[in-house]
């Protein structure tokens, strides 16, 4: 079986440099690369040519479930399963169900958002090759990293582009 191929990791000093690098890689048609930044750099997803996330749809689904689930539950419990005369009010009084339905909607949406986030980002994942880069600790501090994944067909092309842009510490990290 073939050697597992290494990942190429290097970094830039400023968001701007990173931005350009990403644009270049994008324009060269390189797909399997990623940027690692201490904070979200504005517009970088365009520079990298990323598609928008599906997260909102997940949340919408959860929220709707919450809304209808909660309303049905209340209606069935107090209107169908065990109707009681409380303060002479109708057993199934929808006006009274609004607050609870609302809260459950929010709750399920929040769960959807939280778990959806980690699902889409495939986290937690406690190991990733890029972390082997000697200066990795600056990736969450003040440097702006780029990594080219082994799966990238134009691997060497990408390396040249980055070199040309003066990327620092270009290192190939084993998986």
């Amino acid at each position: 079986m073939p050697e597992p191929k290494p990942t190429l990791v290097c970094y830039f000093d400023t968001p701007a440099d990173l931005f350009h690098a990403c644009e270049k890689l994008r324009d060269t048609g390189i797909k399997h690369f990623d940027a690692h930044t201490p904070f979200p750099v504005h517009g970088l997803e365009k520079a990298m040519g990323l598609k928008p996330t599906k997260l909102p749809w997940i949340v919408l689904a959860c929220g709707t479930t919450g809304l209808f689930g909660a309303t049905l539950m209340q209606w069935w419990m107090s209107g169908v399963d065990y109707p009681i005369n409380i303060s002479g009010k109708p057993a199934a009084a929808f006006q009274a169900f609004v607050p609870l339905s609302f809260e459950v909607t929010i709750l399920l949406s929040a769960f959807g958002c939280f778990f959806g986030l980690w699902g889409l980002t495939k986290l937690p994942k406690f190991y990733d090759p890029v972390m082997k880069h000697p200066s990795w600790h600056r990736a969450t501090d003040d440097k702006f990293f780029v990594s080219i994944e082994p799966a990238e067909p134009k691997f060497e092309e990408a390396r040249k582009i980055l070199e040309s842009l003066g990327a620092h510490e270009m290192v190939e990290v084993e998986p």
Binding site: I84, N85, I86, S87, G88, K89, P90
Partner: protein, 998 residues
């Protein structure tokens, strides 16, 4: 074993062997084991709360007592049940001797345990209702602090030993002819006891019998003697009266046959149609401190008790002078000399009252208070006679006996003791060492004797007596009693003596050497008496009915015979300007005998809502004069003695008159009554027995936090208790409805639930409610409501489901007072229900606001959202704190005992409703027959002010009661649209136009 004539053949197996009741050695032994030390004696320095948490005696008692039926024939009131069905209550008729009369009772008994006292509807003096004390006696029966065995100089003795002692003691006396021996009784009305005492005096010719009652009615009897020349007792028929004048007399609550009086009064205040307002009676009250009677008055004149005599004389004089009432010349002269009216208002009253009385000859009624001197009673009797009321509104019957039970008899006894004429004394019940007049120095004399005390509790007298014999409770023993009007009742035991006690009858018999149990003695009395022919049948009838037919006296028509009256009138002391001290029975302890009764101690007094103890009532003006406020102490000094106690600033109290309640501050008492209240007997002398003038009152050191259940007595202009006068009502029938703060019809946002079956509801007639608070105790007894103690009442955590709100209107010094029973209104749109997160309080199909204890988690939100504040929360495990094996025996098995952390409230006696529904179902009926359910409060109410029933049943009493609901009916806080199920009927006063300004 004897067979029961009425009980079915299987009945006999429930009765127990003779040996037990007679106290065989084994039985005594078994009793001893039932009550290990510590369970029965209070640990020294035990706090009330500790007591309340003492976990009773060994469980043996419950099982043993569970089947402790007396073995003689006692008969259930219900028609011949085949046998006792566990879970089904039986009712037995008996009677309670009380305050110079007798209350015929029906006692509810579960598996042989009496649990609840009701009135006997056919008895002339209870008429199906009860008073506070009758309700509470069932708790006394199970009082773990009751005396449980004979004592010799404080040493525990068995009844076997006691019996031998009595036998030999009696033997010794009989040889000496009873020299130096005396018996001291209370004001008893028992033919059998009278007979035993007579026999005793036969065999012991030199023995003497004295009688003493701290709340003696001697003045009443002597008043009759002064007026008519013979000892007679008045029997009033208030229902026939149109004008009633009470002089320092609380005849609606405490004096004479109060229940009958109250019922009669209610009769004269009922409205079936608006026009009836024309014929309402008019109640005038002249008194020194606000009583239940004064609270119910149309016109109330506050004056010192000492001034009342002068006022009555002035009234008599006025009647004679201006209204042609004929009085004996000498009497008239002395009236003229002795009459006094303090102030214009009093003078105006004399004129107006005299006029009103004269205009209502034959249908007016005058009453004098028992503490007023005989001369006043005599004059009142003469006026009743002259006004033609005698034979109409008041009858006179022969006195039960000639014995004088006033303070003088105790003075005489002390004198005899000091003269060594008396060396051994047998005290039958009572507590003379505690409640004797101070100047009798009875305690000192008592100590120097060989004494035998018979009583249910180890009280101050028992503690210093040579021998103490534990007496059987009236629910444990055979006896008989004669009511005010002569009607006799057999007292039949509901349960065999818990502690093997004996009745006073049995003890006297033992001393006199008469053989036979109490049962046999009572039977003997009546076999020799009225029931001679066809005895057994009549006896059964008597036991079944609860009274003996045809024993009521035919009334004697007295004639004025006033030889000594003139002198007596002149001799009557007139009040001075100084401080006066008046003595009245304590609402909680009566004369001290109920001091250890938790229900009564925690019952708010009807007027000023004080629980757990007594206080000096002084008028606001006097409070300013003395510079004291509620709870601050005053020192009261009458020369012979001084006492320091807290005050209540009492609206309606006469100025410079200090009202004291006797019977609190007991020194030798059980754990409940320990350190409660102040003993005022040191101030009470034979001369100033009812009231005494010339006292000095000064602000004393110290303050007491008085545990009162109501602090605020103003209505703040809110339409809570609505009232009007008969005039206004006749002028405009809608006058009450016009008081609604919101007139347009109250609409609902949703379709209302329908109540097609039963629709339970209540009507409360404020015109007839006198605020006597019997309903509160009845509710407590029926519903296992815990006693929380003074510390919790101070935190306003009393648990009563039903309370009586008292409001004062008018000036602070001389207010008009109204009372309003307040309990769960069972709103159809109950605000408490919607806020409960777990649906622990919801609405039942018959419109009851149900409280589901075992679903309640105790958020207390329902209590917050209740506009009537009738919900009660178990802040601690109140029930557990007070529970003892004895207490368990009293609990109503049909009602849950609530635990810590749950909310509770009035259930409209849902257990009674369900009982009736089950009964109806058994008989195949689809609904409960008319008026088959009555709530405990409605049943106990003397005036019938509370009526309960099915609002969907056109024939029910409650619906009839509400015939005037469109004119007089209103629902409290109606504008909230919570739709209460309780309808209040407005209070109608019948004012005398001439006094309205006054």
């Amino acid at each position: 074993m004897r067979r029961l004539p009425i009980l079915g053949s299987s009945g006999k197996q429930y009765w127990r062997s003779l040996g037990e009741l007679q106290g065989s050695a084994e039985f005594e032994a078994s009793l001893a084991n039932e009550f290990p030390e510590g369970a029965t004696e209070a640990p020294s320095g035990v706090s009330r709360r500790n007591f309340l948490s003492i976990l009773g005696a060994s469980a043996a008692l419950a099982t043993l007592a569970g089947c402790r039926r007396p073995e003689e024939k006692i008969l259930p009131y219900a028609k011949a049940p085949e046998e006792v069905i566990p879970g089904n209550a039986l009712y037995f008729a008996t009677a309670l001797p009380f305050a110079g009369t007798a209350l015929g009772l029906l006692v509810e008994s579960h598996e042989g345990r009496p649990t609840k006292i009701e009135g006997n509807p056919r008895h002339p003096d209870s008429l199906g209702a009860t008073n506070l004390y009758a309700q509470a006696t069932v708790l006394d029966l199970y009082d773990p602090d009751r005396s449980q065995h004979p004592l010799e100089r404080g040493e525990k003795r068995t009844w076997a030993e006691a019996s031998t002692f009595l036998a030999s003691f009696g033997q010794g006396l009989r040889t000496s002819g009873g020299k130096g021996f005396a018996v001291l009784t209370g004001a008893h009305r028992s033919p059998t006891l009278a007979k035993q005492l007579a026999k005793l005096q036969e065999v012991l010719p030199q023995a003497k019998v004295y009688a003493y009652e701290p709340l003696s009615r001697q003045n009443v009897r002597e008043g009759a003697k002064l007026a008519f020349g013979k000892l007679l007792e008045p029997v009033r028929d208030v229902a026939k009266a149109r004008v009633i004048a009470a002089f320092d007399s609380d005849f609606l609550a405490l004096e004479g046959s109060a229940i009958k009086h109250a019922r009669g009064f209610a009769e004269t205040r009922k409205l079936d149609q608006v026009q009836d307002a024309k014929n309402l009676s008019r109640l005038y009250v002249v008194e020194s401190s606000m009583t239940v009677t004064g609270g119910a008055a149309d016109h109330r004149l506050r004056m010192k008790s000492g001034e009342v005599a002068g006022f009555v004389f002035a009234l008599a004089h006025e009647l004679a002078q201006s209204h042609g009432i004929t009085l004996d010349g000498d009497v008239l002269a002395s009236l003229g000399a002795a009459k006094t009216t303090n102030g214009d208002k009093a003078a105006a009253w004399v004129k107006a009252l005299a006029k009103d009385l004269a205009a209502n000859k034959g249908q007016s009624l005058l009453l004098a208070g028992e503490r007023q001197p005989a001369s006043v009673h005599a004059v009142v009797n003469l006026l009743n006679l002259a006004l033609g009321n005698v034979g109409a509104t008041v009858k006179f019957v022969p006195a039960f006996d000639e014995a004088s039970d006033g303070p003088e008899s105790l003075l005489a006894l002390t004198k005899a003791i000091d003269a060594k004429d008396v060396e051994t004394l047998l005290v039958l019940g009572g507590n003379p060492v505690f409640d004797a007049p101070a100047d009798a120095e009875f305690a000192r004399a008592f100590g120097s004797l060989m004494t035998i005390h018979v009583g249910t509790h180890v009280n101050e007298t028992a503690a210093v007596a040579t021998w103490h014999l534990n007496q059987a409770h009236y629910l444990e023993s055979w006896g008989d009693v004669v009511a005010e009007d002569g009607t006799a009742s057999i007292i039949q035991p509901l349960i065999a003596p818990l502690y093997g006690g004996k009745s006073d009858i049995e003890v006297v018999a033992a001393v006199a050497g008469i053989q036979g149990s109490g049962y046999e003695l009572v039977r003997a009395t009546w076999k020799a008496g009225l029931l001679d022919v066809d005895f057994e049948r009549k006896w059964r009838r008597a036991l079944h009915d609860g009274f003996i037919d045809g024993t009521a006296h035919r009334d004697v028509l007295p004639e004025a015979s006033t030889a000594d009256l003139g002198a007596a009138i002149k001799a009557t002391k007139a009040a001075d300007d100084g401080f006066e001290v008046t003595f009245a029975p304590d609402v909680h302890a009566y004369d001290g005998r109920f001091a250890n009764n938790g229900w009564l101690q925690e019952l708010p007094d009807p007027i000023y809502k004080l629980t757990w103890g007594n206080a000096a009532l002084i008028s606001p003006a006097t409070a300013r004069e003395l510079n004291v406020t509620d709870g601050e102490h005053v020192t009261v000094d009458v020369g012979s003695g001084r006492v320091s106690l807290p005050v209540i600033v009492a609206p309606g109290q006469a100025d410079r008159s200090v009202a004291l309640a006797i019977g609190q501050g007991r020194r030798q008492v059980g754990r409940v009554g320990k350190d409660i209240g102040v003993d005022v007997f040191p101030l009470r002398t034979s001369a100033g027995f009812g009231f005494v003038s010339g006292a000095t009152v000064s602000k004393g050191p110290g303050t007491t936090n008085l545990p009162r259940t109501q602090e605020h007595f103003q209505m703040e202009g809110r339409q809570l208790v609505r009232e009007t006068t008969s005039e206004e009502l006749l002028a405009d029938a809608q006058v009450i409805r016009k008081m609604d703060p919101i007139s347009p019809p109250l609409l609902s946002l949703w379709h209302d639930w329908e109540y097609k079956g039963h629709r339970w509801g209540m009507a409360v007639d404020l015109s007839t409610c006198i605020g006597c608070a019997v309903c509160v105790v009845a509710c407590q007894a029926e519903n296992n409501i815990p006693v929380v103690g003074p510390d919790q009442v101070l935190l306003s955590r009393e648990m009563h489901w039903l309370r009586i709100d008292r409001y004062f209107e008018g000036t602070q010094d001389d207010p008009v007072s109204v009372s309003q029973p307040m309990t769960c209104q069972h709103c159809e749109n109950a605000p408490c229900e919607q806020v409960c997160p777990v649906a622990a309080t919801t609405h039942g199909p018959e419109g009851l606001n149900d409280m589901v204890y075992n679903r309640c988690i105790g958020t207390k939100y329902c209590g917050n959202n209740c506009p009537y504040k009738v919900r009660r929360f178990n802040y601690f495990n109140f029930s557990k704190r007070e529970i003892t094996e004895q207490r368990k025996m009293q609990y109503n098995p049909d009602v849950t005992v609530r635990t810590r952390g749950v909310m509770e409230k009035c259930s409209f006696c849902v257990q009674r409703i369900n009982e009736a529904k089950i009964a109806a179902k058994r008989e195949g009926l689809d609904r409960v027959p008319t008026d088959n359910v009555v709530s405990a409060c409605a049943q106990a109410c003397p005036t019938g002010a509370i009526t309960f029933g099915d609002l969907n049943d056109p024939n029910s009493t409650v619906v009839k009661k509400l015939s005037l609901q469109n004119e007089l009916g209103y629902r409290l806080l109606d504008f909230l649209n919570v739709r209460p199920r309780i309808t209040y009927l407005a209070k109608i006063r019948n004012l005398n136009p001439e006094l309205e300004s006054a």
